[in-house]
């Protein structure tokens, strides 16, 4: 890294050069003044060079503390200066993903790191679902008069944080209430399986290995261990994470809402013992949680996969497109032979409906039940901050953008694909209703 000369520095250097020229050509008595001016220039240069050296040798420790979305995401930058010189008035600015919201600290300012000591910068963000990058710090040093400045130097490393979606207890509670109130709860019954169901009296024909000897010892009666009948229902969630799926307020965007719904449903279905998996796809690629897994493990995998989702930048969106072929391949890899429910959370506009139709028909042909949950994006973006005079104009234009999605729904429905128009309310219940009713019917 080298020093650059500022406009001020340039003007000062011209003055020095002119004084030197005057001293040499016209009047040697100016040499004293010239020497002073040159000394000042050189000392400022040396000062800036030393500061730059200190900056280059800074040791940086970066750490991040976070839990789940909506909670504070705290990033610490510890700058350690092991040299004897201090780093004075270095200007810094923190780089981070533009989709993140900075809530506390100073993302740009001036730094002083005394010699043989350290300072710590703390930056607080509001966590949001997905994988996001923070850092490094961009730093610039100057001399005392601002004659020289360094190029932007990146200090510390860039860290990535993967934030899982929250499971909304309200949704889960609603699901329980809903399924019980409409009689959709699958009744537990004894049968073949591995989960514990009950202990009952011994009957002729029961296997001896099932005898619970502890009961016999205490009550002098033979009792056997009974398993719960397994009722298998596979569920695969497909979550579109395209840039347009991030429409909406911070933490309440379409994707984040869908992710919370999926996480809540996944927790419910995990407790109900269903096997489940997740595929996330966007312009950057396709990511899945692997084969369908029962219980908490399945839920954990789903949440982790969602947390690894990255937001494609505008440049990335312009340079790449969704790999639908690979998405189909992933489906075929993870879907079981048995009938499974597939819920695709994505928009149908922008020509996507044709690919979705293709996928839905292929999966349907394999015996799976496919539902497309299309978020109604206008429901996520209520322009409350607009003045009344502009509100109607904005809504009119919004509806024009929604038109494509609605046309996609109509076309898909006409071609026999089941589409759920998804608004922030009721969609979770609708999905559970579909899963439970199917299971209930079978059992």
């Amino acid at each position: 890294m080298s020093l650059l000369i500022t406009e001020r520095g340039k003007a000062y250097t011209i003055l020095v050069a002119f004084t030197v020229a005057l001293a040499v050509i016209l009047d040697y008595r100016l040499l004293t003044l010239t020497s002073l001016l040159i000394s000042l220039l050189i000392s400022m240069r040396i000062y800036a060079e030393i500061s730059l050296g200190v900056l280059e040798d800074l040791e940086v420790e970066v750490s991040a503390h976070y839990t789940i979305e909506k909670e504070p995401l705290v990033v610490h930058y510890k700058l350690i200066n092991r040299r004897i010189y201090s780093l004075l008035h270095a200007e810094y600015s923190l780089e981070y993903e533009s989709a993140l919201s900075f809530i506390k600290g100073a993302k740009a300012g001036l730094l002083i790191v005394p010699g043989n000591s350290s300072i710590e910068l703390v930056f607080v963000f509001k966590a949001r679902t997905g994988t996001h990058w923070i850092g490094p710090l961009r730093v610039v040093v100057r001399d005392l008069l601002g004659l020289f400045k360094s190029q932007e130097i990146r200090v510390g490393r860039r860290i990535e944080v993967s934030i899982p979606p929250t499971v909304e207890p309200v949704i889960v509670r609603k699901l329980y209430t809903f399924t019980r109130s409409v009689g959709l709860v699958k009744t537990r019954s004894p049968g073949e399986g591995v989960e514990f169901y009950d202990v009952r009296e011994y009957r002729v024909g029961d296997e001896l290995k099932r005898v619970v000897w502890r009961v016999y010892a205490s009550r002098n009666k033979l009792a056997v261990w009974e398993a719960e009948r397994e009722s298998y229902q596979g569920v695969v969630y497909v979550l579109g994470a395209h840039r347009d799926m991030w429409t909406g307020p911070y933490n309440q965007s379409v994707f984040e809402h869908s992710a919370r719904i999926v996480a809540s449903i996944a927790q419910y279905t995990a407790r109900r013992g269903y096997a489940q998996a997740l595929i996330v796809f966007n312009e950057l690629g396709v990511r899945d949680s692997g084969r369908l897994v029962h219980g908490v493990e399945g839920f954990n995998r789903i949440v982790e996969t969602i947390s690894k989702t990255r937001i494609a930048s505008s440049e990335e969106v312009s340079q790449s497109t969704t790999n639908w072929k690979y998405l189909v391949e992933r489906f075929l890899t993870i879907l079981p032979r048995e009938r499974a429910f597939v819920f695709i959370f994505t928009r149908t506009g922008s020509g996507k409906w044709q690919y979705l139709l293709d996928i839905a028909l292929k999966l349907k042909a394999l015996g799976h039940a496919v539902y497309i949950a299309m978020p109604v994006i206008t429901a996520y973006d209520i322009p409350r901050d607009l003045p009344e005079s502009l509100y109607r104009i904005y809504r009119a234009k919004q509806l024009l953008l929604l038109r494509e999605d609605l046309e996609g729904i109509v076309k898909l429905r006409e071609l026999g694909v089941r589409v759920i128009a998804m608004t922030p309310l009721h969609v979770a219940q609708r999905i559970i209703q579909l899963i439970e009713s199917a299971t209930w019917t079978r059992s």
Partner: protein, 501 residues
């Protein structure tokens, strides 16, 4: 200090460059002070001269067998070593003083085991050497004139020599070294003293004269015509060989196609060196004039030399002049003088003074700034937070009030309504049955009918299928349509528990 500067300093050659410049400067000044290495043109039989009258050819010839020293300063004599030293002086232009001769001989006696002196001189310039050695031999400094076909009778003492008279100065002589050599000499002088080893070959049919340095001539009677031309003498352990002519050692003679001279010279030095490889031959180069290149004499002399039409001479002249021209002593003072006077002249004019100031300022500025890249001193850009989604640009445009509602927008919102009615009732909005459905939804069939008719009427105008109403503000119409769509959406949401828009 920054890494780059450290690296730069580590790799830098500032100090070495500065030292080099200083050394060059000192060297330049020293060179100017000392003057050119070749200060002029050596004339006569100097061993430094490759010209026809020089003896450089002899130096090369002797170097094949012996160590040869060409003495340009007497101080160099101290550096000589050898078992046998042969000090040779050939036709010196300037006479040896007795002090010089004594110094030379004493120095050579100190450094050499055996000293031999060869004097080949037709003048008396070398006699002091012989005197310093207490030799009885002397070069008389006269000229031996032989007329081998005497048709003209010269009557001494009124006879005056005409140098251009052909054949008159070239006596045929016999010189005995190991063998006897018959040679024709140039302007030779008689030698007296010592043991005669060379004499003029003349018989009774030839006329022989001796011409004294003062111009008076002497006719030699027939019985005395074998005038001594070379003598030899041993004084102590110093052997002296004197030849009354140096011309046989000149470049023009040794370089000619006549071999007898080379044979004689080789035999003479072999004899003096006793064929020992430890023999050192010292050729004197201190007693020859050097013409300054600036002098008219030098120019004249060079012109004379070029008349010989010898390529070697031309090359020598170039080689001689080139170092003088290149040498800083030639051009540096001139250049500095020119610059100084030019600079003074420039400063007399205001315009040129300003021009100089500006130029110097630019040079110094470039030196100080070291071509550093100019950077605007602005604060670092803060990371901007971006609102994501499909409505970002739309919101910006609306807030900037650049968005206007048109008939196309009306058609667009209408198609949303159309899609909605298909989703909910499975009917196109143009279907009149929709009026019934709307009536049920809004709870006011009359209003529903009015709304439906109004929407359809404006849709037909927007699509160009009707001209009525004639006066219409599309902005208002679209806003009103949006109100209806939202009302319908709200009612549907209330009725079915599903939000559509």
């Amino acid at each position: 200090m920054s890494t780059l500067l450290r690296e730069k300093l580590r790799r830098s050659n500032y100090i070495s460059t500065l030292l080099l410049v200083l050394i060059l400067l000192v060297g330049l000044i020293a060179l100017v002070e000392k003057g050119p290495l070749v200060p002029g043109i050596p004339i006569g039989a100097s061993p430094l001269s490759p010209l026809s009258l020089g003896t450089l050819e002899l130096v090369y010839m002797l170097r094949r067998n012996y160590t040869v020293y060409v003495i340009t300063e007497q101080s160099l004599l101290s550096a000589i070593s050898g078992e046998i030293c042969v000090f040779t002086t050939i036709s010196p232009e300037r006479p040896f003083t007795l002090e010089e001769a004594t110094l030379v001989t004493s120095k050579l006696r100190d450094v050499c085991s055996k000293l031999k002196i060869l004097v080949a001189d037709e003048s008396t310039n070398s006699n002091n050497i012989l005197t310093a050695l207490n030799s009885t031999i002397k070069v008389n400094g006269d000229r031996i004139l032989v007329n081998y076909s005497p048709t003209i009778t010269y009557t001494p003492p009124n006879y005056t020599i005409a140098p251009e008279t052909p054949g008159l100065f070239y006596p045929l002589v016999a010189i005995h070294v190991d063998k006897t050599h018959m040679l024709r000499l140039d302007k030779a002088s008689s030698v007296s003293g010592g043991m005669q080893v060379g004499y003029v070959l003349a018989n009774t049919s030839h006329d022989v004269y001796l011409l004294n340095p003062d111009g008076s001539g002497m006719w030699i009677p027939p019985g005395e015509r074998n005038i001594t031309i070379a003598s030899r003498e041993v004084i102590g352990n110093v052997e002296v060989f004197v030849l009354g002519d140096g011309s046989i050692f000149l470049n023009q003679v040794l370089g000619s196609n006549r071999t007898e001279y080379r044979v004689f010279v080789e035999e003479l030095f072999n004899h003096l060196c006793e064929k020992s490889y430890k023999c050192a031959i010292i050729l004197d180069a201190t007693h020859y004039s050097v013409l300054s290149l600036k002098s008219e004499e030098a120019v004249k002399y060079l012109l004379e030399q070029t008349m010989y039409n010898d390529t070697r001479i031309l090359l020598y002249l170039i080689a001689l002049i080139a170092p003088i021209l290149i040498h800083p002593a030639t051009w540096l003072p001139v250049m500095i003088n020119t610059i100084t006077s030019g600079y003074k002249t420039l400063l007399e004019n205001h315009f040129t003074t300003i021009l100089l100031l500006v130029t110097f300022t630019i040079i110094v500025y470039n030196m100080f700034s070291q071509h550093k890249i100019l950077a605007r001193d602005r604060p670092l850009r803060e990371q901007l937070e971006e609102e994501l989604g499909v409505f970002v640009e739309l919101k910006k445009s609306v807030l900037a009030r650049v968005v206007k509602l048109t008939a196309q927008d009306y058609v667009g919102v209408y198609s949303v309504l159309d899609n909605l009615s298909q989703l909910v009732w499975g009917l196109r909005f143009e279907n009149p049955e929709i009026q019934v459905k709307l009536g049920e939804l809004l709870g006011d069939p009359g209003r529903a009918e009015k709304i439906w008719l109004w929407i359809r009427k404006l849709y037909l105008k927007a699509t160009g299928r009707s001209k009525l109403p004639i006066v219409l503000f599309w902005s208002r119409a679209v806003k009103r349509l949006v109100e209806f769509v939202e009302e319908i959406s709200k009612k549907l949401s209330e009725k079915f528990g599903v939000e559509y828009l």
